[in-house]
Symmetry: C2
Subunit: 197 residues, 2 copies
DNA sequence: AAGCCTCCTTAACCTATGTTAATTCCTTAT
DNA sequence: ATAAGGAATTAACATAGGTTAAGGAGGCTT
């Protein structure tokens, strides 16, 4: 798999954001990572000052609390930029790990070099801004959901937002995404089933 | 108050973000708003396709749920860009109102024109990206807090994060910011007071 | 000073979710 | 086919936070 092939998924992603950019102009050195289902791209607590691009596959961002409880921040499917914006920007340790839920193909770029190159090219920078706008809006919607909606509503929203994931990923992970325990999710599902009959 | 004076608060804000930009190059038409304590810059449900800059004062973002419960998304103090990124970017209605907690001085710019001008000048665009990075990180930390921490911990974090607000704004608003009722916050405060003795 | 308003506290009760543990179901390996 | 391990369900109990309502403590206004 070479740069040319990878470029297609970049193109697909940024077209969706409304941009048509020649990614061959991006000359920073690139690594390729193949991650097997269940394995981690990086772990919580690592320094991850690289930008990753998910070319194929599905991942989740997993964060573990002080008490050892797992919590899924995000499900991300290709094509998409992945990684920790915070860790890149502030050079802090990452607060979550990225785990492959399917076999994945990922390319990565040193953040500093990538950023410097973006500054030379307003088109790249605009794409980066679009990306930031998008992930911000997603987080804002999530904040809204946690404060305004019940767990039941959050589950129904999850099913509506990710119909293709609903029956693929384990319920524990869905529960940890909507912020409840697997037991509580099971109760909610049972209640919903009852109402459906 | 003219453009020159306003520029100082822009400068202060973007210096803090690590940029030194000549905001006099920003020529899009500007409005000035003076908002009295308690009044709203805009209301939830409005179209707010303008970018606002808070030159002086303190505001909160207030969102009301379907059941009529108030929820404070953000406290923002000058100097700072304020407004709804989502409403600007997606041309949707705003999901929160902005209420002045002190008398405020705000300037505003039509978003489209502002954005077009940013695209002519990579320095502006970089500032915008920095701004987006920052608000994203804030939201991510908030998501973390809601899922991993108890209300008590969120209250203590609030006190640490906003020591200057803690004794200034009504507790109802603090409660609505950490996602609980005023009654629950009062309970928590009492428990903390007990432990302190 | 009296009255009024808003905020905060406290109490009693209710509900959703957490916790623990036992049971069943499904998948995979032998 | 059977055994073993992980995932989901269910039940019983514990707890944090919501709801309602009543009382008290400042601030304003008159």
């Amino acid at each position: 798999m070479d740069r040319m092939q990878l470029q297609n998924s970049f193109q697909a992603y940024f077209n969706e954001l409304g941009y048509d950019i020649d990614w061959q102009r991006l000359t920073v050195p690139m690594d390729i990572h193949v991650i097997r289902k269940g394995d981690y791209l990086f772990q919580q607590g690592d320094f991850a000052n690289r930008l990753f691009f998910l070319h194929s596959g599905l991942v989740r961002y997993v964060s573990v609390s002080d008490e050892g409880k797992e919590f899924t921040q995000t499900f991300a499917k290709s094509p998409r930029i992945i990684g920790s914006t915070k860790a890149m920007v502030t050079e802090a340790r990452v607060l979550f790990g990225i785990q492959a839920l399917e076999d994945c193909m990922v390319s990565s770029y040193p953040w500093r070099a990538f950023y410097e190159q973006m500054r030379q090219d307003i088109g790249f920078l605009e794409c980066y801004a679009k990306f930031l706008e998008r992930i911000f809006i997603t987080k804002e919607e999530r904040e809204n959901a946690f404060v305004k909606h019940s767990a039941e509503r959050r589950y129904l929203d999850f099913c509506a937002d990710y119909p293709e994931l609903k029956n693929v990923i384990p319920q524990q992970q869905i529960a940890s995404y909507i912020g409840i325990t697997p037991v509580a999710l099971s109760r909610i599902r049972q209640k919903l089933k009852w109402h459906r009959d």
